[in-house]
Symmetry: C2
Subunit: 279 residues, 2 copies
């Protein structure tokens, strides 16, 4: 369906992209008036970004930090909460606070419409990143629902029209990594294998093509936000990890929308890669 299954899975151990040449932040701008909990957070943040505190390393206890800075424990807790909400540390009760490990998985939406890497650059690019051979598992659930507003708009149907929803949660090593909900107009997929909650090895896109609705174009939309509690739970997300909504609308050659897929990608486990050609 999307690029996840068919594209190479890989992890980036190096935390690329967080600019290192950028120094000084809000913290140093008005040093004296900055509240204590922010000063504490800043100090720890600097230690993390500078590498003094390595990923996975344990922080001093709240009590120790409080003593060190001469403040109440609650003040330290406020500072740590800030770092947790930034996704820099995690709390493992009652063991302590730890610097978070971060690794990215490559997500390549184009893999569903392009069988192989299109150019040697893409090849080389993907090779620069260590590959791993892990096999994903998934659970599928198909149901008939009334089209919610956003899906209806994209499928050019009225809100509330009956459509087919094919929901999937994909996991790797038992850990869920993304939610993938595809929606189809009922009349198109009625009585087809898409209605059955079984895996379709050749892909739902091919199945759709076999029904006479081959996709010719697709529009990808992305936006990002903090997860709802429901998503946090379904994807077992920690605090401070944003999610990206990825919505794909597929069109036939006649310009008719035949598929609308909604992906939820957790921020700490994915990286999207596209290739683009000048025209």
């Amino acid at each position: 369906m999307s690029g996840l299954v068919s594209s190479p899975l890989a992890t980036l151990t190096k935390d690329i992209g967080v600019s290192t040449e950028v120094k000084s932040g809000v913290d140093t701008m008005r040093g004296s008036t900055l509240p204590a909990y922010q000063r504490i957070a800043s100090a720890i943040r600097t230690k993390i970004t500078s590498g003094e505190l390595a990923p996975g390393e344990q922080l001093p206890t709240e009590h120790e930090i409080a003593e060190q800075y001469g403040v109440a424990r609650q003040t330290v807790r406020n500072g740590l909460a800030l770092l947790v909400s930034e996704g820099l540390i995690v709390s493992q009760r009652p063991r302590g606070h730890f610097v978070r490990r971060r690794e990215h998985m490559i997500y390549r939406p184009q893999a569903e419409s392009r069988p192989q890497p299109a150019s040697p650059e893409m090849d080389r690019f993907c090779q620069q990143i260590t590959e791993e051979g892990r096999t994903p598992t998934q659970t599928i659930d198909v149901s008939l629902i009334a089209a919610p507003a956003d899906i209806a708009q994209r499928l050019e149907l009225d809100e509330g029209t009956l459509i087919v929803a094919r929901r999937r949660v994909r996991s790797i090593n038992g850990e869920p990594v993304n939610i993938n909900d595809s929606h189809f107009p009922l009349e198109i997929v009625k009585d087809s294998e898409i209605m059955s909650p079984a895996d379709i090895p050749r892909g739902t896109n091919q199945a759709l093509a076999d029904l006479g609705y081959a996709q010719d174009r697709a529009i990808d939309e992305y936006y990002w936000r903090m997860p709802t509690p429901e998503e946090s739970h379904r994807l077992s997300l920690g605090a401070g990890t944003p999610v990206v909504m990825h919505i794909v609308t597929g069109y036939t050659v006649d310009g008719r929308p035949v598929r609308c897929t909604r992906n939820v990608l957790p921020g700490d486990r994915h990286m999207i890669v596209y290739e683009r050609k000048w025209e």
Copy 2:
């Protein structure tokens, strides 16, 4: 450079995509043992997502909520902090807490390599979204820097090699909306107009082409995280708004990387749109 300037700017007043058919979350799963501050957050969250509390509307004061639930004010504050970190409400001291307004701006990376919408679907799609005619402003700053690791890797140079960094902050109505830092190998742009901190109306890509380094392909990477304090400050971000890192590497027809651009997009102001053709 990127799609922002040349593509239509628009806002989505409707908060699309936040699934409405998804009910019940962690909050209702273990009602009795859930801590008070989470119960309070849950109740307010439900009022917001259900529409009972409209965007922009003011919440009761902390004192009032504390009285209503029979808890200490600090407990209410913990609950509100949760909602702030989720990006659902904002605090305007000392006026009170307000439900956050959310609107998205279309960001179309392909606009830099495709002069106009490629298909009628894309046209229609963009028209479905209200357009606005606002003019962006920008500040440019060019400097010679030692290549940081992530840029060096993509430009296939050694870390620390001198490169040209062309940094921009783009604003609309005085409000900054994105950070855009382009990097070029020094030998390519030496003594060219790209070195001057002035706007290049025809675009740096065209300028690069005029120097004999026309881009033929590009690779887009995206990943998302919570902003650093420096980014929060530069983009005047509120708490609970994640950012997307967008890294573009441009290649000539020979496969030589000639440009690496790093974009930082604040999560509450952007939506990325791609069009993709089946091949």
